[in-house]
Amino acid sequence: MNFNIQLQKKEHYKYSITIIVGLLLTGFVLQYSLGAISKEWFSFPNNIWLGLGFIFLFTSLYLLFKQREFFNLVSSVPFALVSSISLGILTIGLGSINIETKTGNANPFWVRMGLENMTTSWYFALVFLMVLINLWVAVLKRALVFQQKNITFLLNHFGLWLTLFAGVLGQGDLTRLTMTLKENQPEWRATDAEGHVVELPLALELKKFSIDIYANKLYVIDKDGKALPDKKPHAFLLEKENSTQQLLDWKITLHRYLSNAVPETDTSFLASPMWGATNAAYITVEHVPTKKLTKQWVASGNFQFPPMTVTLDSNHILVMAPPEARRFESEVLVFEKDKEGGRKEIIQVNHPIKAKDWKIYQVSYDEKMGRWSNTSVVELILDPWLPLVYAGIFILLAGSVAFLFKTRN
């Protein structure tokens, strides 16, 4: 008796491995002859048909043939192990191989085999499909003979299935567009990754772009411009006046920090809210071994004013780095096609806004102008499948919580 069960388990592995290897080989051949899978397949309305087809096909096959050994196999743990380990191995390739397609040095064979974009390759897709079938049949099997002890199983497996299923099918409908906004100019055109211009049913008008900065940092650099020490440069954040810090052999004391400074003379700065102002600090530098003191202004400089530095010795220069952004945001008016007037919104990193079905993200600005940029770059993203993916994610989260409770016993 025991021996029979043992044999069957071994058979399960044998068949699982045969199926996956067979599909991988088929995938390699298809990939080589047809190239990557087109995004079209996963775009509306094809993705709806694919999705419904999957559910209808495998549900009815299961209901008709659930007694057959084959369905036992594809919903079995050995099949789950073999398919998820295969997916894992392919994913290791995906996470480790980086083919230089930009430089044109890549071997055309590997490019053809989809190594630079494995997720759209046939072999990846077929293994992924097996994972989806395995999850779906396993869910059906447990859901149709519903028992309370199966709740954790169902939450985890259905949640994962829904996340993967909706995530893959929604790929082609995901639209990412970039829009460059100029102050006080309404904009309704955006460009996609290939540079095609798209007209949108909504418009944005940048009213104000603003950046909050962190206080600047001082660094010691060598004559090649490299910050020192080599691997982990030391920095002095000019946050507190009268604070002191040693960088290499030089002890620096900050007397005054101006976040908005303009040159007063050739060697001094003045606080001023003027447009295009730079950052400056009045400091004392003490060369520790010789106790030699220097007192002077340093400035980071920007598109308008040159930087001011301290030459420490023949190989060392003290510089003020440009400020780092603490926060940047665009104040915009949002106009939607069928609505009167505009509404005011603020777009920040990590705080996208919603307009129609789009989510709008703060991406960038005119970096040369820095704080004084009157240009803001935003990204508009449309992802109609997101609610399904989120449903999957939240079910999976609930499944993990249930798993924590279940494992207690």
């Binding site: 743990v77 050995p78 894992g88 480790s96 780092e324 952004a325 926060r327 920040q348 919580v401 798993f403």
Partner: protein, 276 residues
């Protein structure tokens, strides 16, 4: 607020240390006192976070030092929660130890208060995402140590490797039970971390999954533990060795995800490598 930080550090660590001993006493009241001290230590750190929040007039999430205080706080909190669930006392010790480490790093390296966080990292998701991962890694790291012990001991069943720590003979079944418990908790938290990361990515980068190398490796290591859980489910009473080996491999994958990613050819494309 930071001027009080040294007092907070000392008070919390002292309470945690006292608690770590008291919970092992026989008398129930003393055990309860020990538990209460753990809660108080955690609450003190929580109060400090709140104080920072009020005095700074923003969530204290902008410097690495600020985020570390949150880690210490949540380590204490998770310790209590996991203890309530599983009634395993050493889990309190483990979480207190990790909380202490975060407090001490912040205490001895106050210069890191100078480290500034870029806007993309300033999010309500930052702390939960990192905290659940730290906890998951801690649990899974511990599980791997248990697995290594099981492997070494299993190879030399006659010799008790840890005889100086406990006098009992090696029991493969018990070793597996301890490891499984750690893996279950670690795996659940790993799932939280992965999914919180996806939800955050949608807010910060616009999409929940972009096969960024760090994401890819997080998925791989998650699959590793997923495989172990399925293996265990199927072969509950089989020889423990294969299970130990899977767990060690899964942890190696986790290490690649943790810091190995930075050395892979794909690192250049990652949004998770923060330099400077």
């Amino acid at each position: 607020m930071w001027q009080y930080f040294s007092y907070i550090t000392f008070a919390a660590i002292l309470l945690w240390v006292a608690s770590s001993f008291l919970i092992y006493f026989r008398k129930n009241e003393i055990v309860k006192t020990g538990l209460a001290l753990h809660v108080v230590a955690t609450a003190i750190i929580g109060a400090f976070v709140l104080g920072l929040w009020i005095t700074l007039d923003r969530p204290p999430l902008r410097t690495l030092a600020e985020t570390r205080i949150w880690y210490a706080f949540f380590m204490g909190l998770i310790g209590i929660a996991v203890y309530m669930l599983y009634r395993q006392k050493w889990m309190l010790n483990y979480s207190a130890l990790m909380g202490t480490v975060f407090l001490l790093i912040t205490f001895f390296k106050p210069d890191t208060t100078n480290k500034t966080l870029m806007p993309a990292l300033q999010s309500v998701w930052f702390v939960p995402h990192v905290v659940v991962y730290i906890f998951a890694y801690a649990m899974l790291g511990m599980a791997s140590l248990v697995a290594l012990y099981g492997l070494l001991q299993g190879a030399k069943p006659g010799k008790a490797l840890l005889s100086s720590i406990h006098n009992k003979a090696y029991d493969a079944e018990k070793t597996v039970i301890v490891m499984d418990r750690l893996i279950d908790i670690g795996y659940a938290f790993l799932t939280f971390g992965l999914l919180f990361g996806a939800l955050w990515a949608k807010e910060a980068w616009g999409h929940y999954w972009t096969w960024d190398p760090k994401e890819t490796w997080a998925f791989i290591s998650w699959l590793g533990y997923l495989s172990y859980i399925h293996y265990r489910y199927k072969y509950k009473n089989k020889n423990a060795r294969t299970g130990f080996i899977i767990v060690v491999i899964a942890f190696l994958l986790l290490l690649v995800c943790w810091f190995g990613v930075n050395y892979l050819p794909t690192a250049a494309m990652s949004v998770h490598t923060y330099s400077g």
